[in-house]
Symmetry: C2
Subunit: 377 residues, 2 copies
């Protein structure tokens, strides 16, 4: 209590990474940046290093902006370094998997924003966390909300109600969806996020992946996880208990709030830079069931989660590749679920896979998608 | 854990008392009725004694339905009896004050539904509870919701958002309210409750009393308690924390849910007889600010709470007397706030009052209201 926690941010130049740095900047008496790891945005990383003066850095760039005071570490070394108190896992895609495992094995507080590592390897990550005593605090607003609602409860939840904004194409027919452009799909109605997760929010794949995450994080059967469309993104999710009582967590749609809670848990810290709900301007909250017909990714993800094994890894890899193809205008919006569905259906799942088998599935599935669209570059 | 708790219900023939017996009947492996206390509904008390076979009874009736197996106790004796684990305080009005104090001094689990005792004597009750270690679990759906939302939190709430249905006359002008009949006022849109609390819900006095209750139960300054009209009565109240995060508790508007939680806390018990929220049928939740002009009782109560001393006792007594006069059609609906306002304004408050001074204020204020309307019966 009261001491300054040393935070390593893996993925510091992405949306979550940058917002984590905003939170830390607002709370310098509680958090300090000890490590920064980035992909290819060397310009921003250099700026962040100048400002936050980390001890450790990682960069995918071949000429990292290293200086005498900085030590270059691999992602796994940084995630498990004894001087690191909290690991913020904000890299995207499969790159999060091995450092997540390293952080969990080292018993770190893991503020987990990387969806794919839990989706792909939820079984091994949660098992390792149980063994080491690592505390996973989810950063995703939905799982963070559930985590908050469960705090202090003596029993498991009976049911989880994952809310979803419905994305920019809520109410669209499949025909209309086929004509959607990347520019339209990148305009999310309520959240500011990275490109990949914004497209996943438009296809509702994001919500499907969150169902798998919730399954692992809260040890919840798929049958007891329900999705509810809530366009205002103010209720971030809900939990129903054995007695029928429901708890919800609400807040402005701003990722800094769940990021801060994931860092400060079990404490809450006053932070005047965070926005507050203004009940003078909230007249109604709306709800509707999700449209499984127009957004088949939802069902694809839940089915892959139920099948388990390497199926969720195949799903993630297929989706990431398909989203890239959509963003570069090589396929239609509605091709995303078509390609993902075919790839997962043809995938031969391995039960209780090792991290290596998961990463092999990832590579094979990416290749497969590219073959399916005739991309032989 | 697992043993059967012995429950004494003070006010067993009223609405909360009867619903408490429904909950206990559904959970016979966890709760047993050891005591029943009632006012003048001897017929129902006799029936309840036959069914639940309590060891202790109390009846205001001069010829209580006593038999050889039953011991007749005073309310205070029952509330503090060593064999009683949980006291459900469901009497109405000032009758709850002394037994509430007795239960609290004896260190009992107190499932508190009697609003007036906390409003009139919040200072002494909360002080005694702190000394004895008595756990007060609020039964009022709003305070029960707040209590649930605070569970497990390491810090106090920053703000409490008390929701209110708005009653049957939401949107009415003062002119229209002047013509309202007792029959209309007794039709509450969402809750089944006793007569007094139903009228208090129509004037919003009930919500004002709840603000005072929340002040004492959660040690919350009046400035940090906000009222929000929410006609569906599904969100039972909310709590805002230092970081801007808000937790809400939701459920069907059914008093058995908070009653059960007040009994079972910190556990939650599965009970198939309790209703559950059905998200297929909840399309929207609405919110609006309260109308302080049409419902002056709200401001009267909050002001009396801020003044403290014996002012809230004067408020309660004036309101209870005025409600009786309205129910017997001797005054208009809009006379209730007028009489209460005048009585509280003219009241000479005593700071840090004893229970005796509080009860004296009660008696004097009732007399005063009767004089004000020329009732010398």
């Amino acid at each position: 209590m009261g001491d300054i926690k040393q935070v390593a941010i893996l993925g510091s130049t992405g949306s979550i990474g940058r917002q984590t740095l905003e939170v830390i900047s607002a709370l310098p008496h509680r958090f300090s940046v000890i490590g920064l790891a980035a992909g290819k945005n060397t310009a921003l990383l250099t700026e962040q290093i100048g400002r936050f003066k980390p001890s450790f850095i990682y960069s995918q760039d071949k000429t990292p902006p290293i200086n005498a005071k900085c030590q270059f570490l691999s992602l796994e070394e940084m995630a498990s370094h004894p001087k690191v108190d909290i690991v913020v896992m904000a890299t995207s895609g499969k790159w999060g998997l091995k450092p997540t495992l390293a952080a969990v094995k080292a018993g770190k507080r893991l503020a987990l924003a990387n969806k794919e590592s839990l989706v792909m390897a939820g079984e091994v990550i949660t098992r390792e966390a149980k063994q080491s005593g690592a505390q996973i605090t989810p950063v995703d607003s939905e799982h963070n909300a559930i985590f908050q609602c469960l705090e202090g409860e003596k029993q498991k939840a009976a049911r989880i109600i994952l809310t979803a904004s419905g994305g920019p194409f809520r109410g669209y027919s499949p025909t209309r969806l086929a004509k959607v452009t990347p520019q339209q799909a990148l305009k999310h109605p309520s959240w500011r996020m990275g490109q990949k997760v914004t497209i996943d929010s438009a296809t509702l794949m994001n919500k499907g992946l969150e169902v798998i995450e919730a399954h692992w994080l809260f040890d919840m059967p798929f049958d007891n996880i329900r999705i509810l469309i809530h366009p205002q993104s103010i209720i971030h999710s809900m939990v129903e208990f054995a007695d029928g009582s429901v708890k919800a967590q609400l807040g402005m749609p701003d990722m800094r709030l769940p990021i801060q809670y994931a860092l400060s848990y079990p404490e809450r810290l006053g932070n005047p830079t965070l926005p507050r709900l203004d009940w003078d301007n909230i007249k109604e909250l709306n709800f509707e069931p999700p449209d499984f017909e127009s957004f088949p990714c939802l069902k694809l993800a839940i089915e892959a989660g139920r099948k388990g094994g390497t199926c969720p890894a195949a799903l993630c890899a297929a989706d990431e590749t398909a989203v890239e193809l959509f963003l570069s205008k090589r396929i239609k919006f509605t091709d995303i679920p078509r390609l993902v569905g075919q790839a997962v259906e043809e995938h031969k799942s391995i039960a209780h896979p090792t991290p290596e088998e998961i990463l092999a599935t990832d590579a094979q599935t990416r290749e497969k998608i590219k073959q399916m669209v005739g991309d032989n570059r």
